[in-house]
C-alpha cells in the first residue's frame, strides 16, 4: 500500500451536522462519513505528526475520533517522543458542544480529548445564528455541555464567531466570555483565554461603514470595561488589554504540512476549501493515489504564503505593514488564504471591506492604548509589557 504522506492530516470525519448555523460556510451539507477501515488503513501507512479532526460535527463519529487516537498510540512506526507529541496535538476536538453527553465525555476522559466548544456568546447572540435544524436556539444545550465538561474533568475552551448581525453585541460577547471563564474557571484563565482567538469576525460578509462605526464603539466600550474592573489590579488590566486587543494572528500551515482529507479521502489545501461548493476545482488528489496529484499551482500558492514570502494584501493593509509606534505589528484581524480565495478568487487578497474595517480597528487600538494603558512602576523602574525593567 502506498499513500500520500501528510504531516498533519486534517480529517473531515463526517459531512453531517446536527445544527444549522445561519452563517455556516459549508452549504449543501452531505450525509457522508469516513470509512473506519479505510481510515485505519491510511493511518497504518502514514505515521503523521498530529491530526486535526473536523466535520460536520466530529462528535457524530466519536468512534472515528477514538480510532485515530488508537492508531497513533499503537503505530509501531512512530518513535516514542514523536508519538507523545502527536497524541497531545491530536487531542483538540472542535465541536458545537451539543453532543457532549455523559457517554461522549467518558470517552473524552479516557482518550484525553480537549473540547474546543463553539459558542458565540450570550443567549440572544448564540440563538441568533447557531440553531438546530428546526430553528430553535442551542444556547441552553451548550451551556449544559460546558457544565458537563466541568463535572467530568474534561479540559474545555470556548470560541465564537461574530457576524454582521452580531457586531452590535461585541461588547456583550466580550463580557460574556470573560465572565464565563472567570466564573467557571478563574480570573487568570479568563485573562489568558482572551488572547487565544476567543472569537473572530466572519470574513465573507458585506460590511458597511455603519458596521465599522459600531464595531469601533464596541471595542472602545470593552477598553472601558477592562479598566473599570475594580477586582483587577493595573498589571492585570494591562495584561487583559494586551491579550485581547494586541493579539497576534498568523498564517496557518494549511496546504503545506496540514492538508485536509474528506470522507472520500480526497485532499484539499484546507478544511474550508474542502467544504465549499466550488471544491471540485480545488481538489489535490486522493491519499491512496499519491502519483495522481493535481492542482500544483494552487498548492504552490499555499506554499508561497505558508512557507516562503508569507505576504497577502488588500485594499488598505497588507499582512505585515500595520504597526504601532513601537513597530509592533498589530493584527487583530486574521489572514486566511482560504477565505481570501472564497471572497476574492485568489488566496493572496483579503476581502477589501473586511480589511478596511480591521485597519480602522487597529488604528483605534493604538489610540485606546494611549488613553487607557496604565504605566506600571515598581522599585523605581517602569515595567513594560514583557515585564522587563526600564529605568
Amino acid at each position: 500500500m502506498t499513500v500520500f504522506n501528510i504531516i498533519c492530516p486534517d480529517f473531515l470525519l463526517t459531512n453531517r451536522c446536527n445544527m444549522a448555523c445561519k452563517y455556516c460556510f459549508e452549504k449543501n451539507k452531505g450525509k457522508d462519513d469516513m470509512d473506519i477501515n479505510k481510515l485505519n488503513e491510511y493511518l497504518d501507512h502514514n505515521p503523521c505528526l498530529s491530526t486535526f479532526p473536523f466535520g460536520g460535527e466530529p462528535l457524530l463519529r466519536m468512534d472515528l475520533l477514538c480510532a485515530i487516537m488508537d492508531s497513533l498510540k499503537n503505530n509501531p512506526n512512530i518513535q516514542r517522543k514523536r508519538k507523545e507529541t502527536a497524541i497531545k496535538k491530536s487531542q483538540n476536538v472542535i465541536t458545537n458542544g451539543t453532543l457532549l453527553t455523559d457517554s461522549t465525555l467518558k470517552k473524552f476522559k479516557e482518550y484525553g480529548f480537549r473540547a474546543q466548544i463553539s459558542i458565540d456568546g450570550p443567549k440572544h447572540v448564540q440563538d441568533e445564528n447557531r440553531v438546530f435544524p428546526n430553528g430553535s436556539g442551542t444556547y441552553d444545550t451548550v451551556i449544559k455541555a460546558i457544565d458537563n465538561c466541568i463535572e467530568y474533568g474534561v479540559i474545555w475552551s470556548i470560541h465564537g464567531v461574530i457576524s454582521k448581525a452580531t457586531i452590535p453585541y461585541v461588547y456583550d460577547i466580550f463580557v460574556w466570555f470573560f465572565e464565563l471563564y472567570k466564573n467557571k474557571k478563574n480570573i487568570k484563565t479568563a485573562i489568558d483565554h482572551m488572547g487565544k482567538n476567543t472569537f473572530q469576525i466572519i470574513f465573507e460578509q458585506d460590511y458597511d461603514d455603519e458596521d465599522v462605526d459600531i464595531l469601533l464603539n464596541e471595542f472602545h466600550r470593552i477598553a472601558e470595561y477592562i479598566y473599570t474592573r475594580k477586582y483587577l489590579n493595573p498589571e492585570l488590566k494591562n495584561k487583559l488589554f494586551d491579550n485581547f486587543f494586541l493579539k497576534n494572528g498568523g498564517v496557518c500551515s494549511a496546504g503545506t504540512t496540514l492538508i485536509s482529507v474528506d470522507h472520500k479521502f480526497d485532499m484539499y489545501p484546507c478544511h474550508r476549501l474542502a467544504l465549499i461548493p466550488e471544491k471540485k476545482k480545488l481538489l489535490i488528489g486522493n491519499v491512496f493515489k499519491p502519483l495522481e496529484l493535481q492542482n500544483f499551482t494552487l498548492m504552490n500558492s499555499y506554499y508561497n504564503i505558508a512557507r516562503l514570502k508569507r505576504y497577502m494584501y488588500s485594499a488598505v493593509t497588507n499582512n505585515d505593514n500595520y504597526k504601532d509606534e513601537n513597530k509592533n505589528i498589530l493584527r487583530w484581524f486574521m489572514w486566511c488564504p482560504a477565505t481570501n480565495y472564497q471572497t476574492s478568487g485568489t488566496v493572496y487578497y483579503q476581502n477589501a471591506k473586511y480589511n478596511l474595517m480591521f485597519t480602522e480597528l487597529n488604528r483605534l487600538i493604538v489610540e485606546l492604548k494611549k488613553a487607557y494603558y496604565i504605566k506600571l512602576k515598581q522599585n523605581g523602574c517602569t515595567r513594560n509589557k514583557n515585564n522587563s525593567c526600564k529605568r
Binding site: E204, D208, M312, Y313, A315, V316, E360, K370
Partner: protein, 306 residues
C-alpha cells in the same frame, strides 16, 4: 468612556467609485473612439499626466474624431497617447494625415508599417513619434516570428516592437524547445544590441498595470476580452459605492487594482513588466499574483541575463 483622539479616516463607501477606477491604471486601452467618448461623458476618465491611453481605431472617421480631441484638449501634451490600428487601409490613410502632435501609432502584425514607405508623407511626425509593430508569437512559431522581427527591423527600419506572446502554448514545450527559445531570443537581442544603436531597443519597464475597457464599459485585463477569465462590469455599477457593491465583485476588481510588486510571486526578478500578461497569469496559475516561469524566462533571455 474616556475621550480618545480618533477619527475615521477611511470608509467602505470609498472602496468603489466608478469615476476613480480607470485613472488608477498605467495604461487605459479603449476599445474604440466611442468607448473613449462614453467614458468622458460618464466622467469615468480624466486627462492626467504620466499616464498612457490607447485607442483602437477601426476606420478613418475614428481617426478624424481623435484629431478633433487633439485639437480641443491638451491630451497629447499631458498623456502618452497611442493609436492602435489593425487594418492596412486605415493605417495608410492615418499616416497620410498625421498632425504635428505627440502620439504614437501601434499596428498589428498584419499591417505593414515600414518607415521607409511613409517617410515622405509623415516625415515630421515620424521623426518625433513612435511607430510600434506588434508581433504575436506562440510556441509553434516563435522562431519564425523572431526572424520576421529582425527582417522588419532591417528592411523597414522599424525600431519599436511589442511582443504579444501566447505563453500558455509554451506549456507543452520540452527542454529542447526551451533551449531553442533561448537561442532565438539571444539571437534577436544580439541583432538589436550589436547592430548599433543602443540598448534602449530592449526596454526595461517598471511595474505596469494596463486595463482594457470595452464599448459596453466592461473592464478586461487585455484586449482579448475573455470575460470567463476576468471581467468587471463598470457600466452596471456607475452609481454604486463600496457599500452597496457586492464584496465578490468589488474584490475581483480590487485584486488587480491594488496589485503591487510586493504582492507578485515569481522565481526571479522581472526586468520588463510589459512582458507580463496578467490575464495569462490568471489563466495559467489561477492567480493574478503569480508569474509563470516561462514569462520570466522570456524576459530574462531577451534581456541578456541568466
Amino acid at each position: 468612556m474616556k475621550e480618545i483622539d480618533f477619527k475615521r479616516e477611511i470608509f467602505i463607501k470609498d472602496l468603489f467609485n466608478a469615476q476613480m477606477i480607470l485613472n488608477q491604471f498605467d495604461l487605459i486601452h479603449f476599445e474604440n473612439l466611442a468607448t473613449f467618448n462614453k467614458c468622458i461623458l460618464n466622467d469615468l476618465f480624466y486627462i492626467e499626466e504620466n499616464k498612457s491611453i490607447k485607442i483602437s481605431l477601426n476606420n478613418f472617421e475614428e481617426y478624424e474624431g481623435v484629431l478633433k480631441i487633439f485639437e480641443e484638449t491638451n491630451i497629447c501634451d499631458k498623456m502618452d497617447v497611442i493609436l492602435k490600428i489593425s487594418k492596412q487601409e486605415v493605417f495608410d490613410e492615418v499616416l497620410s494625415n498625421v498632425v504635428p502632435k505627440k502620439y504614437a501609432i501601434e499596428v498589428t502584425e498584419n499591417v505593414e508599417a515600414g518607415y521607409n514607405k511613409y517617410w515622405e508623407t509623415g516625415k515630421e511626425w515620424i521623426s518625433k513619434n513612435r511607430l510600434v509593430q506588434i508581433i504575436s508569437m506562440n510556441a509553434d512559431n516563435f522562431d519564425e516570428k523572431i526572424n520576421k522581427t529582425i527582417s522588419i527591423y532591417n528592411q523597414q527600419n522599424i525600431r519599436f516592437f511589442e511582443f504579444d506572446v501566447d505563453y500558455e502554448s509554451f506549456n507543452e514545450l520540452k527542454l529542447g524547445g526551451l533551449d531553442k527559445l533561448k537561442y532565438w531570443l539571444h539571437h534577436l537581442r544580439d541583432w538589436l544590441v550589436y547592430d548599433m544603436s543602443n540598448r534602449l531597443n530592449i526596454m526595461k519597464s517598471d511595474f505596469y498595470k494596463p486595463i482594457f475597457i470595452s464599448e459596453d464599459l466592461i473592464l478586461y485585463l487585455n484586449d482579448k476580452k475573455r470575460h470567463w477569465i476576468w471581467a468587471c462590469y463598470l457600466g452596471h455599477n456607475i452609481n454604486k459605492t463600496g457599500e452597496n457593491i457586492p464584496y465578490k465583485e468589488l474584490n475581483k476588481l480590487r485584486t488587480y487594482l491594488d496589485l503591487h510588486t510586493e504582492a507578485m510571486y515569481s522565481e526571479y526578478d522581472v526586468f520588463n513588466w510589459k512582458l507580463i500578461d496578467f490575464e495569462q497569469c490568471l489563466k495559467m496559475y489561477g492567480s493574478i499574483n503569480e508569474i509563470p516561469l516561462i514569462m520570466i524566462l522570456f524576459g530574462r533571455w531577451l534581456h541578456d541575463s541568466f
